[in-house]
């Protein structure tokens, strides 16, 4: 899957699983500050990423996940690595 594919699928996950407004999702949007995703929501997001992209994201790497773009980076790196 290319980067654009990951971005599009991730946007769908954010809208469907976390109930985020599609228009609010940009690559620079911060989960906690801009999208009002709380710490439990970040855990939900991680689990949804693992299921939908068939990757494993360890808790220590999950700390670096601040923006939507960070999530795309992590998924891209895991899928190609």
């Amino acid at each position: 899957m290319d980067r654009a594919g990951i971005e599009s699928k991730l946007t769908d996950i954010l809208v469907d699983e976390l109930g985020i407004d599609r228009d609010a999702v940009t690559m620079k949007a911060k989960f906690e500050e801009d999208l009002e995703v709380d710490s439990l929501g970040v855990v939900e997001l991680l689990m949804a990423l693992e299921d939908n992209f068939d990757v494993k994201i360890p808790d220590d790497e999950a700390q670096a996940l601040v923006t939507v773009g960070d999530a795309v980076d992590i998924v891209e790196q895991k899928m190609n690595g």
Partner: protein, 245 residues
């Protein structure tokens, strides 16, 4: 008829059976979990269906992680996402601590406490997605006050109260409530083993002067599972006829 899917563990007999019937009567679609009593579980399903409800018998050892996951997957596929979980399955291996084997300790912890962790975890994501859920675990006065000869059982039952309070805090923001119902002496196969004389002396310690009935526990579970109980979480509701007064 609310149409919510409810999973009741250990629902083929006793209090679990009454809880399954109670939830079915308030319109839940009930997954009747059992470990070995397939005939008894089928009878519960038949009784629910005869009364116009829907139910499904599902076998699983609830202390086994893989068995729990496959049970929850099957229920989700056949009935829909689980909205109400009642952790009821339990066993006793009573004995004074001096004579209690490590196997008897572990078996009780696994079936009575580890099962609560496994089943709660398995249903949580569906509840979070729905932003609504009820997790109700059957404790015991033994876990609240202690009971000689039940160090293992008391430990498990006290443990699930701590578990429930912590989980209530973790997921309260998602509209999911987590509570414990702690029965005292209730007429069941478990108490029948104690014998008439023992039961008479037990009844003397109870303010209401009698043992409880399984349906008196089930109705409380029915309430906690309802929308009406939406502001109750992290609570342990003791149903013991005033034993502790």
């Amino acid at each position: 008829m609310n149409g919510r899917v409810a999973l009741v563990t250990g629902a083929s007999r006793g209090i679990g059976r009454e809880i399954a019937l109670e939830l079915a009567s308030s319109g839940h679609i009930v997954a009747v979990n059992y470990s070995r009593s397939a005939d008894a579980a089928a009878a519960v399903v038949n009784e629910i269906e005869a009364a116009g409800g829907s139910a499904l018998a599902v076998q699983a050892d609830v202390g086994d992680a893989e068995a729990v996951d496959s049970m929850v997957s099957r229920i989700t596929e056949e009935l829909g996402p689980i909205a109400v979980l009642v952790n009821n399955a339990g066993i006793t291996r009573d004995g004074l601590l001096l004579r209690m084997s490590a196997e008897d300790f572990d078996a009780v912890i696994e079936t009575n406490l580890r099962s609560v962790f496994l089943c709660s975890k398995a249903v949580l994501r569906a509840m979070m997605r729905a932003k609504w859920g009820r997790i109700i675990t059957i404790g015991s006065v033994s876990g609240v006050y202690g009971n000689a000869g039940q160090a293992n059982y008391s430990a498990a039952k006290a443990g699930l109260m701590g578990f429930s309070r912590s989980l209530a805090k973790e997921i309260g923001s998602r509209g999911i409530t987590v509570n414990v119902v702690a029965p005292g002496f209730i007429v069941s196969d478990m108490t029948a083993e104690l014998g008439d004389d023992a039961m008479e002396s037990v009844a003397k310690q109870i303010s209401l002067g009698r043992l409880g009935r399984p349906e008196e526990v089930a109705s409380a579970v029915g309430y906690l599972a309802s929308d009406d109980a939406g502001y109750i979480t992290g609570h342990t509701l003791v149903i013991d006829g005033g034993m502790a007064l």
